[in-house]
Subunit: 208 residues, 2 copies
């Protein structure tokens, strides 16, 4: 076994021993991978899954649907080789020039403008998973568009970190009746979003 | 003011109010930015600075020296526009094919192999800052090369997250007599490494 994967295996064993809560075999690998990415066992308490979240996320990956992320750190953190095997593209438009212009024009954050533009385009039909690690504004915009019936993704991963609207946006997401994965409180971030996607890709590759 | 920077300003005000410890004006913006990136006030307690760390890191940026990072998430998280104004390049070789081959051949992790190759090349003289957010193996390799007299960077930012050697490697770094920034315990990660670099770049642009 290569050294990197060997260290990862040891890490997961250590995490399993230190965990306090029970998760079923569908949710456990996701929670473990979040703790692996953050070193923080508090996510055991704060994680929230819609009952269909894992099933719908895995199906979206197996169907090769796009994954839209808010920031480049999430895109950098996902296993793009593994996703490419399923034909999934990772879409991140925060640095596009037209996004910057729209943000300025309508007083939006860049992530918010990017999500508004992506989700209102014809290409939205090819989107499977929305994953937000940083921008509560992008998560709130996503929920608004879904609630208005404009768009219906397979899964919303909403785990923005922060002090302004992060907690509120995640509280809102945790009460939705469509598939979501979120974590309550201020903590979250790109490593959490990427860890969830990477765990889903591994599950997608198993027991097909 | 743009919406994104406005939210950031509000966040920093909220963080300042919730902080429990006093930091001087040289260290405070770095600690605040770490808490901003993680939503986690525990870093107030775990952060460790060598007395010359900020000064040396800021000087390295002002001189336009390279910043070597272990993983792509750190590279994705740093403000490359701001760094480019100083002429600083961000170097990340973890996905290079020759790095992968060296890792396999010598049973190293890819990050470890990348650092061994980068730091033993002639180009090492242009390196100012080493920043490690994920791979304790890369941090240990860096400390070995520095201790052997092979290389002397301006600053080592060593904040790997994790369960295998992360704590030990950061304990070791916190006792070094060359400039370092680290955080004790399991927590850390790419957002912490990127936050430290981004705080240093802002300081580098002030009071020149």
């Amino acid at each position: 076994m290569k050294k990197g994967p060997l260290i990862e295996k040891d890490s997961f064993n250590l995490i399993g021993k230190e965990m306090k809560k029970d998760f079923d075999s569908f949710h456990l690998p996701i929670v473990k991978r979040i703790i692996h990415a953050t070193g923080d066992f508090q996510f055991e308490d704060t994680i929230r899954f819609h009952p269909d979240a894992v099933k719908c996320g895995v199906e979206a990956i197996r169907r090769g649907l796009d994954i839209v992320v808010d920031v480049k750190m999430v895109a950098a953190g996902v296993n793009k080789k593994a996703l490419a095997k399923f034909g999934c593209n990772v879409v991140c438009r925060i640095s596009d020039e037209d996004v910057e212009q729209t943000a300025l024009r309508f007083s939006l954050t860049r992530a918010e403008a990017a999500f508004q533009m992506i989700l209102s385009e014809g290409t939205a039909s090819n989107i499977g998973i929305i994953a937000i690690g940083n921008a509560p504004t992008a998560l709130i915009k996503t929920m608004e568009i879904i609630d208005a019936g404009g768009f219906s993704p397979a899964l919303v991963i909403g785990v923005p970190v922060g002090f302004v609207k992060a907690e509120e946006s995640k509280d809102m997401l945790s009460q939705k009746n469509y598939p979501f994965i979120t974590c309550l409180g201020k903590k979250g971030g790109s490593p959490v979003a990427a860890a969830i996607i990477n765990a889903l890709v591994i599950i997608a590759g198993e027991n097909k």
